[in-house]
Amino acid sequence: MGYGFLFDTTLCIGCESCMEACQETNQLPDKASHELSALRYTVVKNKTIADEDIYYRKMCMHCEDPTCQSVCPVGAFEKTPEGPVIYHENRCMGCRYCIMACPFDVPKFEWHKALPLVRKCNMCYPRLKEGKITACAEACPTGATLFGQRDELIQIAQERIRKNKDKYHPYIYGLSEAGGTSVLIISSVSLSELDFKMNNFQEPLSKFTWQVMKEIPNVVTFGGVFLFGLSWIINRRIKLQEISVDTDNDGAHEKEKKE
């Protein structure tokens, strides 16, 4: 099933070690702004709900059926069997449809480069290939960001919620959101209070376009046959019309003889 993250907001203390590790691993500047951008692939955010400081992370959710992969005209995004959604930068032509379409607003663009690319978290794909875990999970001192097989993480999340019913809001975010994501989040509050999308969001977005795209072969074949038939019939009618209407049989025969 592939790797994934389990992020537990109740364990996060907001130390931002994950952010620092991410900047270092991806060779990004330390001073990048505190928002997701082409210079920052993950960010720790803070919200106070009922006198409780809640820290949570924003990053690529590594969807099971990624919207970016479905919209990219040149197939620059790929959901690997290992779990990460990676980006083939030598394919990208910079149309920015992925930025437009991503339901989590994750892909970011290098707006101030003459030859820009799209940037986002790749779940430390090169590190995974070396057999290491992601930089952010490795750096996390409290275990708020847990890295592992998605199946096992789901079990861990279910167990935590079952054991501490008062502590957790009984919902695992990412099980089915946008068709399921490799990043799972559990929290003491409903994730909708932390500005995560919840409503009408249980299926992959790609189905919206596929409903239409799958009809293209039908449109082409039906349209082709229909239009050819139409022009054939109309042409024939017009040719028939050119035979003068009021000639009786004899007249027509005469004409035929002349020719």
């Binding site: 479905s70 449809y97 663009f109 290098e110 707006w111 101030h112 003459a114 795209m213 049989n249």
Partner: protein
């Protein structure tokens, strides 16, 4: 003697519109420089929150839509065989061809790495609407070039090629109609993927169909509009009966659009959005009243259709309403989600104006040097003939000249 001829031939007179053209060109070229050397972020007001702006909204969405007259008129003349529209089919195809070239120029500006524009040819993703869009642009521009080529070939008197193209014209037109259908609708499909980002007044599962129908309507409106402009600019006779007839088709197509829009509102039960006092609502009402409702009523009146002035104003409303619709989908409808307060920068606007100015200039040159408007003698085909149904004797079909 010869020097005199040369100077008089290349004599350049600066008129008002030429002046405007050169100013737009200069501003546009400056913006071009900034965009390609300092990046999209320096030249435009686009951002990660608002990745598509004026160039997609106007240059691409409107450019493709306004070019729709090319395939509809070609279908009318070559497939439906209504030959009386032949005098305006060439300007319509020219407009479509230039329109698509302008769209391609705009795409070069908008793509982050325009030199990779050919990538969809070999890197396939049939799930992507943008992939479909890319292929439609490539193929349909080729088809338009071929449909337009007889004009150039006639001028060059390359009769051999001319005959080849002419024998292929019907399959070519059919291919063009299919590609246009796919392309016009796919521009609407682009926005199917953003159900929660596009404002509910515009988001609809029917977007591809709505885009297609409105493009057909505005295609006819554009043909009428440019017939007027050409008649004025080149002292040509306006094909009055033809444009009035086309106007009637617009009423029909716009009504279809209105019905579909109502059905869509009913199905999604979004009536409430029509009366929320916010910017989107006002823009929506302006778009619908200007581009659909008022033109339907105006053009349904024969007196307005047959009067040049009122007809011109009515089709202008259709065109402006259409442009507003596309800009609303691309910009107004995305603002509230993005919270970016996007408004195009002057450089974006100047590039758009430069491309439009180039289009006008190219149209002018083409009309000046190529046989675009055919001689009026060829128009003298009877305007309509009642179809008589009668028995066809077998010997009549066997006549040698009725072979199909």
């Amino acid at each position: 003697m010869s020097t005199f001829h040369l100077t008089s031939r290349f004599h350049f007179r600066l008129t008002f519109w030429k002046g405007v053209f050169f100013i737009l060109l200069a501003l546009g070229l400056y913006s071009t420089f900034v965009r390609f050397f300092y990046g999209l972020g320096s030249a435009t007001n686009l951002s990660d929150n608002f990745p598509w702006g004026l160039w997609i909204g106007f240059d691409v969405l409107c450019g493709v839509g306004l070019a729709a007259g090319g395939f509809t008129l070609a279908a009318i003349v070559y497939i439906f065989n209504i030959h009386k529209f032949k005098p305006i089919v060439r300007p319509a195809i020219l407009t479509a061809f230039l329109g698509y070239l302008m769209v391609i120029i705009a795409i070069f500006f908008d793509l982050g790495r325009p030199y990779r524009i050919w990538h969809p040819i070999i890197m396939w993703n049939p799930h992507s609407v943008m992939f479909e869009v890319g292929w439609c642009v490539m193929l349909y521009t080729t088809v338009l070039a071929l449909e337009f080529s007889p004009v150039v070939l006639e001028k060059l008197r390359w009769n051999k090629f001319l005959n080849i193209i002419r024998s292929f014209i019907i399959p070519l037109v059919i291919l063009g109609v299919i590609l246009s259908t796919l392309h016009q609708s796919s521009l609407g499909s682009l926005y199917l993927i953003v159900p929660e980002k596009l404002y509910p007044l515009w988001y609809s599962p029917l977007l591809p169909v709505l885009f297609f129908i409105s493009a057909v309507a505005v295609g006819f409106a554009m043909v009428i509009f440019e017939s007027f402009l050409s008649a004025r600019a080149f002292n040509k006779r306006l094909e009055k009966s033809l444009v009035a007839e086309l106007a009637r088709v617009i009423v029909f197509v716009l009504s279809l659009y209105a019905i579909l829009k109502l059905q869509d509102f009913a199905r999604r039960d979004t009536w409430a959005y029509l009366f929320i006092p916010r910017t989107e609502t006002y823009f929506f009402w302006t778009e619908i009243l200007l581009g659909v409702v008022i033109p339907i009523f105006l053009l349904a009146i024969p007196k307005i259709r047959s009067n040049e002035r009122t007809l011109f104003i009515s089709v202008l409303m259709v065109i402006l309403g259409f442009i507003m619709n596309r800009l609303n989908v691309a910009i107004t409808g995305m603002e509230s989600y993005a919270r970016a307060n996007y408004f195009p920068s002057w450089m974006e606007i100047s590039v758009t104006l430069m491309i439009v100015a180039l289009g006008f200039a190219a149209f002018r040159l083409a009309v000046k040097y190529l046989p675009i408007f055919e001689k009026s003698t060829e128009v003298a085909i009877p305007s309509s003939r009642p179809i008589k149904i009668r028995k066809v004797e077998k010997y009549q079909l066997q006549k040698p000249h009725i072979t199909n």
